[in-house]
Symmetry: C2
Subunit: 467 residues, 2 copies
């Protein structure tokens, strides 16, 4: 934030080739601030800044850049610098970079790593995409249960340098199996001669490498931990996941859901960065599906052409009625999608939800139905008394029209609410993502059926009089 003010100064230092000054300016900044200033700079200036940064800071700053910026920087940097930064990066951020790159380029980069780091990178990339294995870092501190607190702290002082977090210390047995996870506070608060097994409670929470990141998020939500251990299928401790990665996972998930609710495929890229054509493709897919679905309205209406010709007034209220069904359906489905994502509602709650939504839908329908009926009646009477349209706006049979509109609204809103709330359950039941029942999807579904409800009620009420 303070950084932005200094951009002119940075520019002039670059222009003057005053690299010592530049290095001094940046040396005390938090890496996130350096990253923020850098993204607004032209490519050439970025490369210069990276060249003057101290090696450790350069790697930290690099981790804060998004993958696109990282890739283009790698293209421009000198070979030795690429090697230094890749080897300094923390393994989880490096995995995120490598998995976004074309596989040839990723393979070339992996060749630049030291044998040890190469082994790590290969191992992490070996886990399926979206799994905990891809998210974890293998840098942690593990100790044995017969050590003392002093031995642990000495060990940390000597070997903890690379650990992603020192907030948790893990206890393993002789075969590397996780037997406890202890907060660092347990060590900091005890006398130095306490033995580890005196501190241990042997109750620990862990993730497994093949779990999905969504499952991991739910476990983090439940236990409120800053970091969780990851074990393989034998219970051997192989890595840790920290909470800052979870914040990212949670936000990505919410973004995907929101975009699906908006009626499109999840973009998977920031709006400002995705190419126009990739975005149009992701939006066109659903738009076409919805359009084809909505075509059924034309087909359905073709069946009611005779009625329409006799009572054209029905056409006037058509958009009003079908959109009210769509809106109430959007509300209900959105509510369910989010409640399911947060685990507040599960599959077996469907019956409970159904009864609630039945009541909610009926109430909402009656409210809109009354407003609609009053609107038609009010307008017809105003017309009759003061305006004297010829023929009268809603015809001589306006009480029947008002009644039709009111009852149709109750039916359509109730139907919209019920189908909107049940669709996410149905989708999850068949293994699909509930968020697919987007607002526009539900609206389209309800448009077609709402139209049939409307005309059926009209036929029932107006038969003999107008139809």
């Amino acid at each position: 934030m303070v950084g932005k003010i200094l951009i002119p100064e940075i520019r002039s230092l670059i222009a003057a080739r005053d690299f010592a000054g530049l290095r001094e300016l940046f040396s005390e900044w938090p890496p996130a601030d350096v990253a923020e200033v850098i993204v607004d700079m032209p490519e050439d200036d970025r490369v210069i800044i990276f060249r003057v940064l101290p090696a450790a800071l350069a790697a930290d700053v690099f981790e804060y850049l998004d993958v696109d910026a990282q890739q283009s920087l790698l293209h421009c940097m000198a070979h030795e610098q690429v090697v230094a930064i890749l080897n300094e990066m923390s393994p989880d951020d490096r995995t995120a970079l490598l998995e976004e790159m074309p596989s040839v380029a990723a393979r070339q980069l992996i060749q630049l790593l030291t044998p040890e780091e190469r082994r790590v990178a290969r191992a992490l990339l070996g886990y399926p995409e979206g799994s905990v294995g891809r998210l974890m870092t293998p840098d942690f501190v593990a100790v044995r249960e017969n050590w003392t607190v002093k031995e642990v702290l000495d060990y940390v002082r000597e070997h903890g340098q690379d650990s992603e977090t020192l907030n948790f210390i893990y206890v393993v047995d002789e075969r590397g199996k996780l037997i406890d996870d202890l907060r660092i506070r347990n060590f900091l608060l005890r006398p130095l001669n306490t033995r580890v097994d005196e501190i241990m409670d042997r109750s620990f929470v862990h993730l497994t490498v093949n779990e999905t990141q969504e499952e991991a998020l739910n476990i983090f939500r439940k236990y409120d931990r800053a970091a969780l251990a990851v074990v393989d299928s034998n219970g051997v401790l192989v890595g840790i996941v920290t909470q800052d990665d979870m914040l990212d996972v949670a936000e990505e998930e919410a973004t995907e859901d929101i975009q699906k609710i908006g009626g499109m495929e999840a973009l998977d890229e920031p709006y400002m960065r995705i190419s126009l054509w990739r975005m149009v493709r992701k939006r066109a897919g659903w738009l076409i599906i919805l359009f084809l679905g909505e075509m059924l309205t034309a087909t359905a209406m073709a069946n009611y052409q005779d009625e329409l010709a006799k009572a054209l007034v029905l056409a006037l209220f058509l958009p009003l009625i079908i959109s009210s069904g769509g809106n109430s359906g959007s509300q209900a489905s959105t509510l369910m999608i989010r409640a399911m994502a947060l685990g507040e509602v599960t599959l077996r709650d469907w019956w409970h939800v159904m009864r609630r939504e039945l009541q909610a839908g009926l109430s909402l329908g009656v409210i809109l139905g009354v407003i609609g009926t009053v609107r038609v009646a009010f307008w017809a009477m105003i017309d009759k008394k003061y305006l004297h349209h010829q023929p009268p706006v809603y015809g001589a049979h306006w009480p029947l029209v008002a009644l039709t509109v009111g009852i149709a609204l109750v039916g359509v809103v109730l139907w919209g609410t019920l189908s909107g709330s049940m669709l996410p359950f149905l989708l999850r039941r068949v293994g699909a993502d509930p968020a697919t029942s987007s607002a526009p999807f539900v609206a389209t579904l309800v448009d077609v059926t709402g139209l049939i409800i409307y005309f059926s009620i009209a036929l029932l009420i107006m038969r003999g009089a107008m139809l």
Copy 2:
């Protein structure tokens, strides 16, 4: 998770009044697991379990319960136990409980606290709702810059017991002003005789008490910290906020946005817990507004009654065309709302977004326009050749109908995309929440204007032939 399997055993221990056995069973469980088992139990059993839990574990478990469960437990517990738990709770969780209670009840509870804890509780509740002050905890470890690492670790061992986190150690000057925040790793990794000022980099990130929780979230997003210091207006360190609170803030925000996008007020309560009538009220508000807005479609259509009477075929495609506009508008507004919430798009990007959406909208419109035209033409020709409806389905002038539908779709989709993408900017510009431009809201707006676009294009193309 393991807990659920043991529920029968727990039940039988309670039935047998075997409190020692119950206490032993729970003593080694993580608090989150105990909480999970407890929420599924009847009230009476909960109270019994709380009575047998060791005091520290009871307070931890209590913090994991939601506010409703906490309140009803407080009602049933013995006085001394209420006192013990309230005084043991961490101040930030206690604030969350107190701010949800009726003010009389909250005041009574505050009276039960020790004078020191009462002071803390009053101070935290003094900050505005939704501010960082409400979220923070005043339990942290602060040290001075002339101390050595050994002195710091000794100090932590003696005074760190209550600190919410020991992952960060804060350095303050003689007046309590924050001058640095250091990860515990800096102390753990250095020789014991290192002085604190040798470790310090004097660059630190902090929040201020009156900042909103949304602002705090953005700072957490940027700096990826496990905890951040909170200072008052004089720069004095008054508390810390930890990342697990931020995960909650991020999810609440996403939930609010999602519910608004679905076209309702944010519920602010889990779906399964909110009372039916409160929920209906939150949903009815927007539904009525949308309904009143949609009524304009009836008004607009009344102006086109003559045209409709002459070319009834226009009515058939009306739902198809206006909903296509609504769908493309929903997509665009949802995209913008989320991109703005994540800070990917800011107000000054409006022009850039406008040009992108112009291209996207035109492309999407042409795609749907072509499909629509082909559909009409295809069906008319099938009818002419094989079905021989009398009169022909889309009339003798079907090429004009096909053309009208196609061009109207381009116009309506383009208009929907543009207004959907610009509305969130407009709302933010006037200080409103961009998420108010929900999918149904945009759809309603576009329905009315889309209808006018459709009939205007029809008048232009069909004049002379059918109209």
